[in-house]
């Protein structure tokens, strides 16, 4: 008998350097990038893990609908819940007012499903012997890990006060201030998270809402706004943080709109849905529940030249039970009109929790 082999192949990974352990809410990704969650689990899956640290996310608003606020709310709430720092700026006179609308993490649905499982198991024991291989432990680890990284948010429950009143939040109103003040505030905020090799203790999030809103005094100075975005992008790239900037493209001239889109590392856009659009209702399943569309135009790829090619770039935004934000691939309506599956629950035997689904 040969000595017991510890390696199954001649190639072995040299694990002399342990992977750096990161603070809460951060996950290692490929190519040495570190992700933080966007606050919407479906969006994290679409983007391949979340927003990479050091990237600039731009969201093109639709003037008809406030869906960009949904994205911002989830993003900000996720950061606060995990103890990350936040800088929020908006064109309102008092941006703090918006913090009151942030959602709270949803009560864990897993507890409820756990209680159901033993009963179901008894009935299905003969048919579903392989359940033991799925392993409760595996699910456990996944669930806890998930909560450390991302949460599902209940849009009906406001975030607890102690999160909002903490010292980690800074608010700036861009209505009266000019761009250099805003740039200085961002610079001081980002100086707290310099990027160096080693473990990351905490990360920062910047959320700038409606950057070129007409109320702002600088809104007609297009070149200045563009140079602000460029300097923000460079500051963010050399720090451990993610910045989201939303803007309404209809208020910019087309050439500047294109330039801003090129500045983004990750580019998303939201669109409103027409109410009572019969043709759209016939074309798409689940039209009644849809609140809007989300388009993913660009996904950030840092440290690599391989682009991400998504299966689908348009997703419908739905509010499940009017509380939870889910993103779904669009499905064309088959004859019987059953609804599509959420991007999060991929195929397999798990069917989405909607009625009228065909179970095979």
């Amino acid at each position: 008998m040969a000595a017991a082999k510890t390696r199954t192949s001649t190639f072995s990974r040299n694990l002399s350097t342990a992977p750096p352990s990161h603070g809460p809410g951060l996950k290692c990704g490929p190519n040495g990038t570190v992700f933080l969650s966007s606050g919407i689990p479906d969006l994290d899956k679409i983007l391949g893990g979340g927003f990479p640290l050091g990237s600039l996310v731009m969201v093109m608003e639709d003037a008809e609908a406030p869906h960009h606020m949904l994205l911002l709310r989830n993003f900000m709430a996720q950061g606060l819940v995990l103890g990350q720092h936040l800088l929020y700026s908006s064109p309102a006179r008092d941006p703090r007012g918006f913090l009151g609308t942030l959602p709270s993490p949803a009560a864990s649905k897993d507890d409820k499903s756990r209680e159901r499982d033993p009963d179901q198991e008894k009935g299905l024991r003969i048919a579903w012997q392989y359940k033991k291989y799925f392993g409760e432990n595996q699910l456990d680890g996944q669930r806890d890990g998930k909560h450390e990284y991302s949460n599902e948010f209940d849009l009906r429950k406001p975030l607890e006060r102690h999160f909002i009143n903490g010292p980690r939040i800074d608010c700036v109103s861009i209505q009266d201030s000019d761009l250099s003040t805003l740039r200085d505030r961002c610079a001081t905020f980002l100086s707290q998270f310099p990027r160096n090799d080693g473990s990351i203790s905490c990360a920062g999030r910047i959320a700038i809402q409606s950057f070129c809103a007409p109320q702002c005094a600088y809104s007609n100075m297009e070149w200045d706004m563009l140079s602000f975005i460029r300097s923000l992008k460079s500051m963010v790239r050399s720090s451990n943080s993610v910045a989201i900037v939303t803007f309404p493209p209809s208020l910019l001239s087309p050439s500047f709109c294109k330039r801003w889109q090129h500045m983004a590392d990750t580019l998303l856009s939201v669109k409103a849905i027409q109410d009572e659009d019969k043709e759209l209702a016939q074309l798409l399943t689940g039209y009644q529940d849809m609140v809007g569309f989300l388009n993913v135009h660009k996904v950030a790829r840092i440290n690599t030249q391989v682009p991400v090619i998504l299966e689908a770039t348009t997703f419908s935004i739905k509010l499940q039970k009017r509380r939870y934000l889910v993103l779904e691939c669009l499905n064309q309506a088959p004859v019987d009109g059953s609804s599509g599956t959420s991007y999060g629950t991929s195929g397999g035997c798990s069917s989405s929790s909607k009625t009228g689904n065909l179970d095979f």
Binding site: Q274, V291, F293
Partner: protein, 373 residues
């Protein structure tokens, strides 16, 4: 429907949300915005008087018309304005917007026109339209004077946004409107806009700031060029009385609604909305179940490989096994027919090889006819 606009303005703002804002937009082709504006004012005011609306007072910021216009308008609609001092106040930015009369009076002892005094119980003259923040303060003061402080709300009507934009830059006007919308005591706000007077960006800014956009379009679009002048003229005449009233609502849940109404005079008659689907909205899904126009034409042009095309003529299909000589003779015959149908044919072709020469060409008889079921 115009009813839904009226309802939205009447119900007003919810706690913690921005007040609903309506833009009434028109153009040279269909210049009825003033009539719509007057209609909305009179409806809102009568509901304020009746106590049915959230707001308890109306402040009219009038730039382009004299305050007496509004008082007369409301009198004609039957509301008693004299006794309703507490419900309506007009901020008069029409008589002396830049304060010139004051300056003249100061330098030359020029006596001010006396007709200003007649409407002074309801109207207050405002002399500094270039300063939007002073305008903001005056509007709020006037409104608070009407309804008192606290939680009671009032509505604002601005006639018109064009004049404001003449005096102040877009960003100040935008700031004024958004601050008004976010003020606790404002129930609803609406303004008039002539879209021809401004660049596209300015119109886009005002539409961005409003939650309801009502635009007036001509019911028949005038064709440029080809049509004879007579036709155009009759269309213009037609457009001078009727128009299409197109309303877009931005709902709270992010769905937007569009309504079309035919309007003549000031009566709104509902028109079935065309519901044209915005092709840009529908994303490119993997397969489409509809045919485009070109595809439809091509489909009609394809000659099917049945000898019986259903149009009463026998058709010969080129069949690889016939000799070249025969096919040459046949070619002209089929070519003629083919040419007629396949003029616009693209590259599609269906080639049919006959199994055997004994095969009878397709016939109309149904072989199941002799079944007795």
């Amino acid at each position: 429907m115009a009813e839904s606009i009226y309802r939205a303005l009447r119900d007003g703002a919810l706690e913690g949300e921005l007040a609903p804002a309506l833009t009434i937009k028109d153009s040279v082709a269909s210049p009825f915005a003033l009539q719509v504006f007057s209609h909305v004012i009179s409806q809102l005011f009568s509901s304020i008087l009746a106590g049915k609306s959230q707001s308890r007072g109306l402040v009219v910021v009038s730039f382009s018309r004299s305050p007496s216009f509004y008082l007369d308008l409301l009198k004609n609609k039957g509301t008693d304005v004299a006794s309703s001092n507490k419900q309506i106040q007009i901020l008069d930015c029409y008589s002396d917007p830049l304060g010139w009369k004051d300056q003249l009076a100061g330098s030359r002892n020029f006596t001010a026109l006396s007709n200003e005094a007649m409407v002074s119980s309801n109207a207050i003259v405002f002399r500094e339209v270039k300063h939007m923040d002073k305008l903001y303060n005056s509007i709020i003061e006037l409104g608070k004077g009407l309804v008192g402080g606290g939680k009671i709300r009032f509505s604002i009507a601005i006639d018109s946004a064009d004049e404001m934009l003449r005096h102040a830059p877009v960003s100040s006007v935008a700031r004024l409107l958004s601050n008004l919308r976010s003020h606790d005591q404002i129930s609803s706000i609406f303004w008039l806009l002539h879209s021809d007077l401004h660049e596209a960006r300015v119109t886009a800014v005002l539409e961005y700031l409003s939650s309801i956009v009502a635009s007036l379009e001509p019911s028949h679009q005038l064709a440029n060029g080809q049509r004879g002048d007579l036709e155009n003229f009759s269309l213009i005449k037609h457009n001078s009385k009727k128009g299409k009233f197109h309303v877009r609502f931005k709902k709270r849940n992010g769905r937007s609604e569009e309504v079309h109404i035919e309007q003549s005079g000031i009566n709104f008659a509902s028109l079935p909305s065309e519901g044209a689907i915005n092709q840009g909205l529908v994303p490119k899904v993997q397969f489409s179940l509809q045919l485009s126009e070109k595809e439809r034409i091509d489909k009609a042009n394809v000659v099917l490989p049945f000898e019986h095309q259903g149009n009463g003529k026998p058709i010969q299909i080129y069949d690889g096994r016939r000799s070249l000589v025969d096919s040459k003779h046949e070619r002209p015959v089929s070519a003629v027919e083919n040419v007629q149908t396949n003029e616009n044919c693209g590259s599609g072709e269906i080639i049919y090889y006959r199994d055997s020469d004994d095969e009878m060409p397709d016939s109309d008889e149904d072989p199941d006819d002799d079944l007795d079921i």
